[in-house]
């Protein structure tokens, strides 16, 4: 649920990057943090373990400027991807407005992507949200690995696995190089804002 303050004319929108462990959710946020420094007022918050794995979440507030006189504040979150942290993943999803599902395009991660997406579906149900209704964008990450000879799932396979029923916008991306990171972000912001506008007016 986005939060709208009519006094200060501020809209707060919560976007969560979701996906299996080591798929690149935090890397997406780190790239955004580096590239859009002038739109980011504070430091990125990362709650991680000593091994640099996300323990609770990453948080990055992002100023998008004004729409119809309202200041749009985008709050980007990631969830911890490791299987054992589902309780915390659920907590982060509370009040979510839009989701980027980051899938790992490495061939050996195929099953993990599907499992993670199924769990997202279940977790959303626990908040009475539907994966079929919430603004969602698919990102097929790590396509740069193809050049290094690492087996990558073709986009058609990922589409069939993850997006055949959802039919949401999708992007091939490389969070490490930044390829399509901004495109993904723009798309989810646009879908989310449109959904909020529809709900309100």
């Amino acid at each position: 649920m986005s939060f709208i303050n009519l006094k200060e004319k501020v809209v707060q929108v919560k976007i969560v990057y979701y996906g299996p462990g080591r798929c690149g959710k935090t890397t997406n946020l780190e790239y955004i943090n580096r590239t859009f420094r002038n739109q980011i007022v504070s430091e990125m918050v990362s709650l991680k373990t000593h091994g640099d794995r996300t323990l609770f979440f990453d948080f990055l507030p992002f100023n998008m400027g004004k729409i119809k006189g309202y200041d749009i504040k985008i709050q980007l979150y990631t969830v911890p991807g490791q299987v054992k942290y589902n309780a915390t993943r659920k907590l982060v999803l509370r009040g979510v407005d839009g989701i980027v599902f980051v899938a790992d395009a490495m061939a050996k991660q195929r099953e993990k992507n599907i499992r993670s997406l199924n769990q997202l579906h279940e977790n959303l149900l626990s908040y009475k949200e539907s994966i079929f209704k919430i603004p969602l964008v698919m990102q097929y990450n790590k396509i740069d690995l193809k050049e290094h000879g690492i087996p990558i799932l073709p986009t058609e396979v990922l589409q069939k696995d993850l997006n055949s029923r959802l039919q949401v916008p999708y992007f091939e991306a490389s969070a490490v190089t930044g390829y399509n990171v901004a495109t993904t972000l723009k798309k989810i912001i646009a879908s989310t804002i449109i959904a909020i506008q529809k709900k309100l007016f």
Binding site: F3, I4, L6, K14, L47, F59, P61, Q75
Partner: protein, 132 residues
């Protein structure tokens, strides 16, 4: 009740409750957030500057974690939380299922006095919220 949108009038009333009950008492900063980590309103004594957006995200996470721990030990909830520091401390109190009141304060305020005022402020905010 409508949590998605708060009118100017509601915010102004909540702000004046927070100022009367807590800022005047000497609290550095008071924030009302929802459990998703959004800020409903924030008031400070105009000397302390905190990054309230990051704070709200972390506080919501913190409270949710403690809530989950409460359930594990068979408690319905831990309705308040208190973190004590050398110079400043933080007090969290649940307003209702969706809202949380957070006060940041220094050594000069006693915890008991703060708690009395927090309870008062919460009562007033609840009354105001239920009216709308």
């Amino acid at each position: 009740m409508n949590y998605g949108i708060v009118s100017q009038e509601q915010i102004e009333k909540i702000d004046s409750i927070l100022t009367d009950k807590l800022i005047k008492l000497g609290v550095d900063c008071v924030i009302v957030i929802d459990m998703a980590g959004n800020i409903i309103t924030a008031k400070d004594n105009s000397e302390s500057k905190y990054d309230v957006y990051s704070f709200a995200a972390l506080a919501a996470g913190n409270f949710a974690t403690v809530d989950a721990m409460a359930k594990l030990v068979g408690e319905e909830q831990f309705s308040l939380l208190f973190h004590k520091g050398q110079e400043s401390s933080i007090h969290f109190s649940k307003i209702d299922e969706e809202l949380l009141l957070i006060s940041m304060f220094g050594q000069e305020i006693s915890l008991g006095f703060l708690r009395l005022n927090v309870v008062d402020a919460i009562e007033q905010i609840k009354r105001l919220w239920n009216k709308s």
